[in-house]
């Protein structure tokens, strides 16, 4: 059915935004929040500058202490300045952190909204092909990674860069020649960091992936306990999880090895300038070319520089990971939308002509299929698994475009109709159902936002779901989904059909839409549905032959071709494949 033709487990590769797009997005986002952004930078800068006072004060005090005269007054003043600077630094840091927190919260909210908006605008064909796995990853892991990068790494980074700049400037102002002590380590630090980052990102991504894999398997072991017990897979699970752990530990070890080289190298690079500052500054002071106050302050500045430099380097990879996540989130906005029809469909006829389709180039699964259902009639597609029935249903409902030939609704190519317009014409219900986490009302009134309670109850009645409604403690307002009332697959299918009744398109494509119901319910449902659908065109893929007997037209599909077509009686009379199957069915029945 949808079976053989389904694009299985294929890597669908949703687009990833280019670097330039990401930069533009970030720039626009910050420009839109320029006031808050400026405030954040301002407060951080203030805090950084206030943090520079300490070494200056200390240099002064050392000079005074080393000097001949007693300068208690100046010491008191210096201490008071230091204390005032500390208070200023504290206040500035508080406000900086606060404004940054508010700003990032808003930026992330907007980004999340943009992402989900883009997801909700994806063309039907892309949704069908991409499946939900890749989107799921983007919606969860990427959003989480980006949140972490923006909430934690970005502010730390801004603060640290600000401090670095302020300290270097202060050092150059206090003791210009000592600025040179920073120079020798720069090439080492730069080369080492580049070496590290190049390997770190894939390394950490693998660490995360293997950790997720391990945890996924643990979760699955808990959720799938019954299956594991049934098939006695306990030992195998333990072995598999041991293997997962081995892989995770190997990935952790790889990044640990990177750090084992990089960290000591970086720390050696931090201490060398300090030593150079001491020696060079000391010598300059001995030669009388640098005051003791300046020497002391400069040495302390060099030491003060260590911490922010370390912060910048250690958050670089977080920023890298965050950027990668942002590219994936923004990529969803770049999905190519097919060119949309500008004309409205005229009439309610659905026509498929010479339709061919392939999931993989060169492997057609539909070969020149024609179908001209009379508007208001009921057509049933039957045929063995893998015949291409579900694929054809997807084409009929405008999800995919045929490779050649056409499917037209009121004269317009179905796949070019925007989903908003298409769904008032043709709608598809398959046996893959989804119950949203929400109330029954929310689950029903997806598009029919104006529907009254009576409308909703009537729709439930049509699909024989009255008993369901009566079972629910809060009626239409009962919450459904995990942690609330769980529907059986059959009930979920009734729900899907009730949505269809409310959407009320002129053509309904039902792909095994009652397969999950027990036969008695299914049969009753089909009948009451048929009453309501009087005048609607119904194209149904069915595996229970009784459904075919009631149809206006039966189409037998095999190997991607229509092999027989006609009314039930005609096909029986023709004595072909359908007749044979019907006979075996009848034979059983008559066997009693």
């Amino acid at each position: 059915m949808s079976d053989a033709a389904a694009p299985v487990v294929e890597d669908t590769a949703l687009p990833v935004a280019a670097r330039r797009t990401v930069r533009r997005y970030v720039r626009t986002a910050i420009r839109r929040e320029w006031r808050a952004s400026a405030a954040v930078v301002g407060f951080f800068a203030l805090a950084a500058v206030a943090g520079l006072v300490g070494p200056q004060v200390l240099g002064q005090v050392v000079a005074d202490a080393a000097g001949k005269g007693r300068a208690l007054g100046r010491v008191e003043l210096a201490a008071a300045v230091f204390a005032a600077a500390l208070v200023a630094q504290g206040v500035a840091a508080t406000f900086a952190s606060r404004t940054a927190g508010h700003l990032t919260a808003r930026l992330l909210a907007r980004l999340r909204g943009d992402f989900v908006g883009a997801v909700l605008a994806l063309p039907l064909g892309v949704v069908e092909r991409a499946g939900t796995g890749e989107l799921q990853t983007r919606a969860s892991s990427d959003v989480e990674q980006l949140t972490w990068s923006v909430r934690q790494a970005a502010p730390q980074m801004v603060v640290a860069i600000g401090q670095c700049v302020a300290i270097v400037v202060a050092l150059l102002v206090t003791a210009p020649p000592l600025g040179l002590v920073l120079v020798p380590t720069v090439p080492f630090l730069a080369a080492g960091t580049r070496w590290y980052l190049k390997r770190a990102r894939p390394g950490y991504e693998r660490t995360m992936a293997t950790w997720d894999e391990t945890n996924g398997r643990v979760q699955e072991t808990a959720a799938g306990g019954r299956t594991i017990e049934t098939f006695r897979l306990g030992d195998l699970r333990i072995a598999q999880i041991d293997e997962d752990i081995r892989r995770w530990v190997a990935a952790e070890r790889y990044t640990l090895r990177l750090r084992t080289f990089y960290f000591p190298m970086a720390e050696a690079c931090y201490v060398v300038p300090l030593v150079l500052a001491l020696v060079v500054g000391g010598m300059l002071h001995v030669d009388g070319r640098l005051s003791i106050a300046a020497t002391t302050a400069a040495v302390l500045y060099v030491q003060l520089l260590i911490s922010p430099v370390d912060t910048v380097l250690s958050y670089l990879d977080e920023i890298q990971l965050g950027t990668a996540s942002l590219s994936r989130l923004l990529g969803v906005r770049e999905v190519d939308a097919p060119p949309l029809a500008t004309t409205d469909p005229a009439g309610e006829d659905v026509v498929a002509k010479d339709v061919r389709y392939a999931y993989r180039t060169g492997h057609d699964v539909l070969h020149a299929i024609d179908l001209l259902p009379r508007p208001g009639s009921r057509v049933v597609l039957v045929g063995p698994s893998g015949a291409g029935k579900s694929t054809f249903a997807l084409l009929l409902s405008g999800v995919h475009a045929p490779r050649s030939g056409y499917v037209r609704v009121g004269g317009v190519d179905a796949h070019t109709l925007p989903p908003e317009r298409l769904r008032s014409q043709v709608a598809l219900v398959t046996q893959e159902y989804h119950v949203f986490n929400g109330t029954l009302r929310e689950n029903l009134a997806l598009s029919a936002t104006g529907a009254t309670d009576e409308d909703l109850v009537r729709a439930l009645d049509v699909v024989d779901a009255r008993p369901l409604l009566e079972r629910l403690p809060a009626g239409l307002d009962t919450a459904l989904g995990p942690g609330a009332v769980q529907l059986s697959p059959g009930e979920a299918q009734q729900l899907a059909l009730a949505r269809l009744v409310l959407a009320d398109p002129h053509t309904l494509v039902l792909d095994e839409a009652t397969a999950l119901l027990d036969p008695r319910t299914a049969r009753h449902l089909e009948r009451s549905l048929a009453r309501v659908l009087e005048g609607r065109t119904v194209i149904a893929v069915a595996h229970r032959l009784q459904a075919a007997a009631d149809a206006d037209q039966v189409v037998v599909v095999d190997g991607g071709r229509v092999v027989e077509q006609g009314t039930h009686e005609e096909l029986i009379a023709a004595g072909g494949r359908y007749a044979a199957l019907w006979r075996s069915w009848q034979g059983t029945v008559a066997g009693g």
């Binding site: 909204g113 989900v116 969860s140 049934t230 084992t260 050696a268 698994s385 046996q431 899907a496 595996h543």
Partner: protein, 595 residues
């Protein structure tokens, strides 16, 4: 450096979260101790740098070139020593995290497997919380910080002693100031942790709305409702933003405090020190040393604060882990020893009176799907019969048999089972990928006594190809990109319902159990396929007890016996002579007036 996963995770101490954490610590005492040793070396050499720096600057003040160079070299040596000790400490800390996380993972998995079908049900009803990755990480985080914490404590003590010796008043400021500064932020920590938890919860709420939206995207794009869901996500996302803002407000206070409180100690040291220096009772070098030492103490102070919050979070996580580790099974185990042979004879479900003939294929036509499922669950011992009733196998009440043994002989394939991920081959024939030959034989000759229950060993009779053929699933496998080596995602979402059902049936057939119970195994396949499956099923299970619930005439037709189940069971006849006059049979199988 470490052998992970652990060969044996051990028997945990589960009386309290604290004891559990201590037990974990004891189990990895060597790495904790070496980690702490390097942690101490690392922090003490860092603490010594300000002192050496002070001495060097003192030499600068005295214009003693030799001493400047000498002390500068000491600074260099200490810097390199702390870099070396730092990375060794880091390596041990990572090892501590890995060992502990791995141990907890292994314990949780073993416990989950022992609980079998019970755990998922109790998680679903909220009886126990699901153990998330973050719980395991938080337990690991506690052990990770031990090395840093010990280093922090010792370095704090060293700095305090040196300062007290050189200048009691300055020493006193540090000794008293640090605990005050650490405790002063304590009142913020707990509310902050709460707000962070709220923020995390809101984030996970929004994430599940997003996930729900994405999963139902076909419906939304096909039938409409995008605006409604965009708004719904917008609301969840706004909640995240306002929770984040509330966190940020408190975080900002903490950030400010972490500047001001340690800074106040530095200012106080500088101020008092400056007085002493100007009065010549403290050398300028010592003043610099004290200033830098006070500034250094920020690091251990932050470590103390972090350790406190990790301990708090670790205890909470450990409590959740313990809840799973100490859970007991609901289903009672049998008290009899495992029989050497299967009891033989028919199955009788006393509650409905259904009799399942040994070695036959029985079709059960239930009035409602639930009734059929309940019968199979009683037969398979997934549910207990009402009190006063039993399920008999021959003349043995099945509840008296050991559950583990029973699972090896009676297999029920659920209507919608939980499908585990893996390649098709792994999923269908796990026994083959892991070990050749029969598992039970292996245990019988005692060659592998430590292993628990093992996967079914398919007999020579049922091959992978044979099972796939019988379940009409060969074409499903053929359509997969890598055939048998295609990886299927959780719940086999990548394939359609019909394909899933056929693969699942092949899995059930491969288990090759003495008694196989199939709950409506053809509900999602078309009539052609169903007919073929029914025939092949009768063949492949010939001579063995098989029960299939169904509403299809194509399946019922192949059965040796047909039972109609409506409150009680009644026979609808044998193959070739079905009593189609039975009203329920007619309604269910023939859909009333279809003939």
């Amino acid at each position: 450096m470490l052998a992970l996963p652990l060969p044996d995770p051990g028997v945990p101490e589960t009386r309290s979260p604290g004891r559990f954490l201590l037990w974990c610590a004891r189990k990895q005492a060597p790495t904790l101790l070496t980690g702490s040793f390097f942690g101490i070396l690392w922090m003490v050499s860092q603490a010594a740098i300000p002192l050496a720096l002070g001495a060097a600057l003192g030499a600068v003040v005295r214009r003693s070139e030799g001493q400047i160079v000498q002390w500068s070299l000491v600074v260099l040596a200490l810097g390199l020593l702390q870099a070396a000790a730092g990375i060794l400490r880091h390596r041990r800390a990572v090892a501590n995290f890995l060992i502990c996380s791995s141990r907890v993972q292994q314990l949780v998995v073993r416990s989950a497997i022992a609980l079998g079908g019970d755990l998922a049900r109790r998680v679903a009803t909220g009886e126990v919380a699901n153990i998330g990755a973050s719980d395991i990480e938080r337990v690991g985080d506690v052990l990770d910080i031990v090395a840093r914490f010990t280093g922090g404590i010792v370095s704090y003590a060293v700095v305090a002693i040196v300062l007290l010796v050189v200048s009691p008043p300055l020493g006193a400021i540090v000794v008293l100031g640090v605990p005050v500064a650490v405790l002063a932020v304590a009142p913020v920590l707990r509310p902050l942790e709460r707000r962070q938890t709220t923020e995390r919860d809101r984030r996970s709420d929004a994430s599940s709305v997003a996930s729900d939206t994405v999963t139902g995207l076909r419906v939304l794009r096909g039938l409409g409702g995008e605006q409604v869901f965009a708004r719904r996500y917008g609301r969840a996302s706004d909640e995240v933003a306002s929770a984040a803002i509330r966190t940020a407000n408190l975080q900002a206070i903490l950030d400010g405090a972490q500047v001001v409180l340690p800074g106040a100690i530095v200012v106080a040291v500088t101020w008092v020190g400056a007085h002493l220096a100007v009065e010549r009772s403290l050398s300028p070098g010592d003043l610099v040393a004290f200033y830098a030492s006070a500034a250094f103490l920020v690091i251990p102070m932050q470590t103390f604060v972090q350790a406190a919050s990790r301990w708090t979070a670790g205890v909470v996580a450990a409590r959740r882990v313990i809840a799973v580790l100490t859970m007991e099974r609901d289903l009672p185990d049998g008290t009899q020893p495992a029989p050497l042979e299967t009891p033989g004879g028919d199955f009788v479900d006393e509650e409905t009176g259904a009799r399942i003939s040994s070695g036959k294929l029985t079709a059960v036509v239930p009035a409602t799907p639930e009734e059929g499922t309940e019968l199979l669950e009683r037969l398979a011992r997934w549910a207990a019969p009402r009190s006063g009733f039993d399920v008999q196998w021959g003349d043995v009440p099945v509840r008296t048999l050991p559950l583990d043994w029973y699972r090896g002989h009676v297999v029920m394939l659920e209507r919608s089972p939980f499908h585990l991920r893996g390649t098709v081959r792994e999923v269908l024939a796990p026994a083959r990928t892991r070990r050749a030959g029969g598992v039970r034989d292996e245990r019988a000759d005692g060659s592998d006594p430590t292993d628990g229950p093992a996967p079914h060993a398919p007999r020579p009779g049922v091959t992978l190809a044979g099972a796939l053929e019988a379940a009409q699933a060969s074409d499903v496998v053929a359509s997969l990109p890598d055939a048998l080596d295609t990886a299927l995602p959780e719940q086999w979402r990548a394939i359609s319902g019909g394909q899933r059902q056929r693969l699942s049936l092949a899995q059930g057939l491969l288990a090759d159990a003495d008694v196989l119970l199939l709950d409506d195994p053809t509900s999602a396949v078309d009539a052609h396929t169903e007919a073929a499956i029914a025939k092949a099923l009768a063949d492949i299970r010939r001579g063995r007890t098989t029960v299939v619930t169904t509403t299809s005439p194509l399946v019922a037709e192949q059965a040796d016996e047909v039972i109609v189940l409506e409150g009680t069971a009644r026979s609808a006849g044998r193959q070739g002579q079905l009593r189609t006059s039975d009203a329920t049979y007619e309604a269910q199988v023939l859909r009333g007036d279809a003939s």
